[in-house]
Amino acid sequence: MLKDFLEGKPLGHPIHPMLVHFPIGFFVLSFLLDITTFVFPKASNLVLASFWAMLLGLVTAMLAALPGFADYSDIRRDHPGKRTATTHMTLNLMAVVVYAINLALRFSADVSLRVHFFPFLLSLAGVTLLFISGYLGGRLVYDDGIGVGRHKRHLPPPRDTIYLVPPIPGADAVFVPVMAAQQLRERETLRVGIDGQVMTMAKVDNQIFAFQEFCTHRFGPLSEGKFEGFNVQCPWHNSCFDVRTGEVTNGPAKINLKTFKVEVRESKVGILLSRETKSL
């Protein structure tokens, strides 16, 4: 599948962060060469070298954009990183436009002697955009874990959190039907929020299990995890838990997951929230 390929699943490594080294590096190189022409006005061919570096930067930037779009589309809509990702994408598209104009200006001008003021200003703007945007991209990976461990999983992650309200708040045990759970395929997951509790619902071995969404190590998203036997593996640092009991089966996590009771009532699959699970 094209999307799996763009997300780097066959490679075991997302493609977008791999390719972005090139535009970042080449645009910065081009900028430094521009500055060098001011410092050493007599050095020959620097202006032309800067042009070539920028051209390669633009080509690789457009190549990097394609897997970037695929990565973006897989971020859950209510993920705290989604807004950062939107800003990251917008700034990058702006940088591409700025550099396209920059290249066109340099191409049409007599570029062999010196860098003109306006194209230089565009380079300054481009590099600034790139620094902010690159920083945000890094935050997406290192703060929000976007793309981390995604290649280990074959099915797409949940696109949204399904928020449900218990029918009789405050009762001893409440049955909350989860409609979408009916259609779950093997090893597919839902991210469900009921009464302040966010959980993963997963179908494993034709049964549905529910457990807390957040890994007990560094809070990675278990609804995006990989399933093996009755184990769910956190995409971030590979902690494993038994989906039936919530027990840790492999570290670095040390604390067991909270699990929730899944029941079928009147042929509806749902979560049985008891007062104990609420107060735990």
Binding site: F22, G134, V141, F214, H237
Partner: protein, 173 residues
Amino acid sequence: MKWLLDILKGKWLGHPLHPIIVHLPMAMWPGALIFDLLSKWQIGGNAMVRLSFYAISFGLAASLLAVPTGVVDWTGIKKEKPAWKIGLYHLSLNVVVTALFAINLGLRLQDFRDASIVATAPLTLSIVGTAILIVSAYLGGRMTYHYGISVARMSKDEWREIAEACGANLPPE
């Protein structure tokens, strides 16, 4: 010394520093190979020869910062973790690549100002260096994207708050 380690780890930035710095050698050295090939196909003339020279120099300058930041990140990994060993390979290969491009640059010093086409020896070094670099960079990427090294290290308090608000069992602080 702790302040220096914190700087190298990128704590002041809220983002590990090593993966930022490595964009430069990672782009410059394969870039030098591309420029060399263009030069070999007689595109760009002396501008291309110079561009390759500047790219290698810039990459070397950046690697002066890429190496210590990488070593600091690597020493933070526990030795029994699989990522430690990958980190060791990543580190060793990068040292080899850096040495190869340093030699490569030395070979170019004589004639980069006037030559209009790249010589065979430096071109070969660019090919070998880039090939090793790609392997090594892939290993570096695996450390982040497969083993989660540095992932959620600086943001873990924010995630803890979210997880706590969502009723999760939490590890002790």
